[in-house]
Amino acid sequence: MRALDRVAAVTSKDLLLEWRGRQTATAMGMVALLIILFLGFVLGSEPARAPAVLWVAMGFAAVLGIPRLTQAEVEQQALETLLLYPGSREHIYWGKFLALVIMLTALLVLLCALVGVLFNIPIWTHLPALIAVGLFGVIGLAAIGTLLAGVVLHVRARELLMPILLLPLALPVVLGCLRLTEAALAGRGEGVWLVVIGVFDLTALLVCPILFEVVMEES
């Protein structure tokens, strides 16, 4: 059970840091809101556009938010301390992954509410399906995002590099969730996309922790 304790410790540390600095988290939510307002205004707020605006905004907000996952390690040089603790680096991955899942889920809930209001979408009637789709997508984004948060830890211009790295790699998740959200709102299923995101999520969860250990090596 020690492994689970370590994972939980990392998760609660990251979430606590986010909560303490929640002004910055609020700023991230504001940016996401701005993206939605902007897109909605420029492209028109027909209900049909809602899933696209939602997931594009989600992708860009994730790009902004994910570097924050390793912000403490960068700023306070907490990385050496973190790595000194006994236990596999994989536990650090899972801890941060869970923290990111929670943060992205909160973000998604906020964005769904906003989009529902601005685009006049009946979210409540399709809530279970939307929640399922959302979780599916968040898991994929968080799996890749945690790895990339580690990658940009030791790199200059980390905030600039994140979109270049994340958006191409996370494209299947964004595209898939977009179509699945459309389908959920229309009350039908889209098996193909479930398989796509399922494969993506599974592969990411298998491969990223291993690669994360490589990324966290001291030089």
Partner: protein
């Protein structure tokens, strides 16, 4: 060195023959006219880009497993060449599309996936260049290449199904059967550019080796 010069000479020869067949000896297409000749450089460029990608991934995986510098030289070289040839594939594809379909860009799945591939290559190079130190840069680039390689098939099918599940597929290049001289031109092009790629790769690996020991000294 001898082998490298031979390879370079062979590549040049193939390219010359390929250019002749592609530009002069082969007939124009029934539908596209003369513009089909662009295909004889576009498709080989895309082919080389994907071969380079495969080499990058294999070399990256080997480097992470064994940590021998030579694998990193290969991965770095293949990534740099991949950027060049992916860029060329996108540009030639765009130039091909303009007169044939009247548009600089189509959201054809292959073009979009190639564009995404360009960004993955670029990401790997940037991560390598912007990292704290070269060794870490090599490791991070390897990680990006590997995760990219695993993702590209998923990306490709995502793009295909994103557009075509709801609307019929647009015209895709090279779907129709080809007349023999045109097929010959295409195959010659593939051979020529593969030889060129092999030559450039050996050259670039030599450069990587020279630059590395230079720094260490």
């Amino acid at each position: 060195m001898r082998g490298q010069s031979f390879l370079g000479g062979a590549a040049l020869g193939f390219l010359a023959v390929g250019a002749y067949v592609g530009l002069v000896a082969s007939p124009p297409d029934a539908f596209q006219g003369e513009y089909v000749r662009i295909m004889y450089v576009h498709v080989p460029n895309a082919w080389v880009a994907y071969v380079a990608f495969a080499i990058t991934c294999i070399a990256s995986a080997l480097y992470l497993a064994k940590r021998t510098p030579v694998y990193d030289y290969v991965a770095h070289s293949a990534t740099e060449l991949g950027v060049v040839f992916t860029g060329l594939a996108l540009v030639t594809g765009s130039i091909w599309g303009r007169p044939v379909w009247g548009t600089w860009w189509t959201w054809d799945a292959r073009l979009v996936t190639t564009a995404v591939l360009f960004f993955i290559y670029l990401g790997a190079l940037l991560v390598r260049g912007l990292a704290d130190d070269p060794q870490r840069g090599a490791r991070l680039a390897a990680v990006v290449s590997i995760i990219g390689f695993l993702d590209v098939p998923v990306i490709h099918y995502s793009v295909v199904w994103f557009r075509t599940l709801h609307q019929p597929a647009s015209l895709t290049p090279g779907d129709t059967k080809m007349a023999l001289p045109m097929l010959a031109a295409l195959l010659l092009g593939l051979l020529a550019f593969t030889a060129l790629f092999a030559y450039l790769l050996t050259l670039r690996i030599r450069l990587a080796r020279a630059e590395d020991t230079g720094e260490a000294a």
